[in-house]
């Protein structure tokens, strides 16, 4: 139970509420529960069955805010400046301090003059949906909680560096050891900046880096195991070795390009391409290869290939009938999230020390805003009516996305293009996007989104894990400059709180401020728990049986 408190806390009740509970328990709540009606748009409302409009017991009016006393069910109104019959009621009857707001089904204490909260009341309200009836809500959620936690640990545990096998770098005179390991330029092989930019990001994705550097894809074993000479993971392994070899002269990922073109024939051509498309295609191919050789008969949801283990998350889609509220839920895996740019105009307070003229205050977007847009309820058009089992006919509906399971590495793809069907052309959107260096994904989780849909009640929702892994840190940003048809990709990497610009062969260091002002296209976040120990912090890397540059040293370093 305490784990759930991490996502929200249960506020302390006032002493009046405590006294009420001691005397009355939840009988009052259960009575109120029977009066709760809910429509799709109106949320929870208290409605008397006989008359539609509740009226104040004192004045028979229905203006202002109406409250129902929990003890005697007397309805009274509260017109703030003029008359407060509700307050009068609590003053005239001892012990009747707690009432329920008719409009919102919220508890109110008239002694404290404040809204108060009680998990038992929220539970009573939620049970109106029939939620509490299925095997008891605690039972269902508790069981699921344990299951999901175990799964998450399994996925991540071998992607942490193993401290028991300790080694030290061989002394390579060319390696500038004051610079972070693995920092190395990539030669542009002819319009391949889209590939280089993605490779740079992947080279420094902690779980992916750890996987390859700890030799979990062994090239020799792979050659023996599969007759297929093409292996993208093997080529990735070569690139990882090259990048972390200590050699700082730019590396040419030619073999990788050659393999990738042989595998992805439809994308094989000498021309500029889309970095996001390349990333997805590459992960796809890695998955296919591993599924063929290592993990046959696995479906996408539980796939153990490295691509899925690192990038795969789960999206939840709820489609709700606007008439009766019936909701259909589906889950689908995803390797990344594509976000539309939200529009928001900056306010004066955001630009310190600047007189903002109308022309200067251009609309800017925020990553939080884009994620809000992604998870906001979207009314489907009237031409998209879906069949509702509750109503037994086609109804208009509302769709809402949320994230059921977060990946280890979160890749956010910013859709910087507008397509005009009229003019049959696409245009690039250059608008700036604010993105945080630390991102908490809690508000976009299914549990948060669903909870909010039901009024943020204190209630155990499905998927309500104490997910400490909702906090992410950025480690790579891929930017695009230029136009839709032709431009240039550059990756910015964050290593040990320094930012490095990786422009093909050129590696330079840049200020944090420069990164914040970039026009981002792909933003890569990794779970905080996975990036606290960088390669340098551990000090050494696990044993490589190939014995390239690694020299075993007994004892600690």
């Amino acid at each position: 139970m305490s784990q759930r408190d991490l996502l929200y806390i249960t506020p302390k009740p006032c002493r009046h509420l405590v006294e009420y509970k001691i005397k009355n328990g939840i009988t009052g709540y259960n009575v109120i529960q029977s009066y709760i009606k809910s429509g799709f748009y109106s949320g929870k409302v208290i409605k008397n069955a006989r008359s539609e409009i509740p009226r104040c017991g004192f004045c028979c009016g229905s203006k202002g805010r109406l409250y129902v006393c929990l003890i005697c069910l007397e309805v009274s109104c509260s017109l703030f400046d003029e008359s407060n019959h509700a307050l009068l009621h609590t003053q005239s009857e001892y012990g009747h301090e707690i009432a329920v707001d008719v409009e919102r089904a919220e508890l109110y204490c008239f002694s404290c003059c404040d809204q108060v909260y009680d998990p038992d009341f929220d539970k009573a309200v939620m049970c109106k949906y029939g939620l509490g009836l299925r095997n008891g809500s605690n039972g269902v959620v508790g069981g699921e909680l344990r299951y999901s936690k175990r799964k998450r640990l399994d996925f991540g545990v071998d992607l942490f560096l193993r401290n028991d096998k300790k080694l030290v770098w061989d002394n390579d005179r060319r390696s500038k050891s004051c610079f972070p390991l693995g920092l190395r330029g990539l030669n542009n092989l002819g319009n391949t900046c889209f590939m280089n930019s993605v490779l740079q990001a992947l080279l420094h994705a902690p779980p992916l880096r750890n996987y390859f550097l700890s030799d979990q894809h062994n090239r020799e074993a792979c050659r023996k195991r599969s007759s297929d000479k093409l292996c993208l993971p093997c080529d990735m392994d070569v690139i990882f070795s090259a990048a972390f070899s200590g050699d700082r002269s730019p590396y040419s990922p030619a073999q990788f390009l050659s393999s990738w073109w042989q595998i992805s024939e439809n994308l094989a051509s000498y021309e500029q391409q889309d970095a996001h498309e390349f990333l997805i295609s590459m992960l796809d191919r890695i998955h296919e290869k591993e599924v063929k050789t290592k993990y046959p008969n696995k479906d996408n949801v539980n796939c153990h290939c490295i691509a899925h283990r690192v990038f795969s998350g789960l999206l939840r889609s709820d489609v709700t009938c606007t008439t009766c509220g019936f909701t259909s839920t589906t889950y689908d895996p995803c390797m990344d999230i594509s976000l539309d740019l939200n529009t928001s105009s900056c306010s004066n307070r955001d630009l310190p020390n600047k007189v903002s003229k109308p022309t200067e205050c251009t609309a800017s977007s925020t990553l939080g805003g884009c994620l809000d847009l992604f998870t906001r309820p979207e009314k489907l058009g009237s031409d998209q009516k879906l069949f509702c089992q509750g109503c037994q006919e086609r109804r208009e509906s509302v769709k809402q996305m949320s994230i059921r399971k977060l990946p280890l590495v979160l890749c956010l793809h910013i859709k910087r293009f507008e397509h005009s069907f009229v003019r049959k052309m696409s245009k690039k959107i250059d608008r700036h996007l604010q993105f945080p260096f630390s991102l908490d994904m809690t508000p976009y989780l299914s549990s948060s989104v669903v909870r909010k849909r039901f009024g943020n009640r204190i209630f155990a929702f499905e998927g309500d894990e104490s997910d400490l892994s909702t906090k992410f840190d950025v480690f790579a940003v891929v930017t695009h400059s230029g136009m839709l048809e032709s431009g240039h990709y550059v990756t910015y990497l964050r290593l040990k709180s320094h930012w490095y610009k990786c422009d093909d062969a050129w590696i330079t260091e840049v200020d944090e401020e420069v990164v914040r002002s970039l026009q981002t296209y792909l933003v890569f976040y990794v779970q905080k728990t996975l990036c606290t120990k960088s390669v340098e912090d551990v000090g050494c890397l696990p044993l490589s049986p190939r014995g390239d540059k690694f020299v075993p040293i007994s004892g600690c370093c």
Binding site: G130, D284, S426, P436
Partner: protein, 178 residues
């Protein structure tokens, strides 16, 4: 007659005004109640951090657009952090893994394309990312309107990825477990 109309008008507008005020009050309390719950349940924990990030971002932008600042992001490179310089076309020489010829790095891709046979080019295959093939006709450096994991009818949204969005049926699945 006109005087009567005037009275009607003013009482109507008074009535309208009253209704509006009531609605406004109701909405204000609604928002207050909702925000109160969010604040009490500490669902808005990260507000401070978020504001800090926004502030830093705004400052960075202001600095970047300030003409007095040197455009270091776009300046020509002299040396990289390792002290190296690089030509505009990569001049490392290696052997092509297809034909064995010595090729200069910066010209490898166009060479490989020809080397692997012209048949590699522009023939859409029915792979997972069929839309990628479609997009190749209007080839752009970016601007693919979909990715293979988010194929939907609606170009603007990442759907749940399943191709049968249109055929969704409702069920009472609010508290579904996985």
């Amino acid at each position: 007659m006109s005087a009567l109309n005037q009275d009607n008008l003013s009482s109507n507008s008074q009535l309208a005004s009253t209704f509006f005020e009531e609605l406004l009050d109701s909405v204000i309390v609604d928002v207050a109640s909702e925000s109160h719950r969010i604040a009490r349940l500490r669902l808005d924990r990260n507000l401070d951090e978020e504001e800090e990030e926004l502030r830093l971002s705004a400052e960075a932008r202001a600095k970047a657009t300030d003409p007095s600042n040197s455009c270091e992001a776009n300046s020509k490179y002299v040396v990289d952090i390792f002290g190296q310089t690089h030509p505009s076309v990569a001049n490392e020489i290696f052997d092509c893994m297809n034909c064995g010829r010595s090729i200069m790095a910066g010209r490898f891709a166009p060479h490989l394309e020809k080397c692997m046979g012209k048949g590699r080019k522009a023939r859409p295959k029915s792979t997972r990312s069929t839309t990628a093939a479609q997009n190749r006709q209007t080839r752009s450096n970016q601007g693919s309107t979909s990715s293979s994991y988010s194929n939907t009818a609606s170009l603007n949204r990442l759907s749940n990825g399943s191709p049968n969005v249109g055929g969704n049926e409702f069920s009472n699945g609010i508290a579904e477990g996985l």
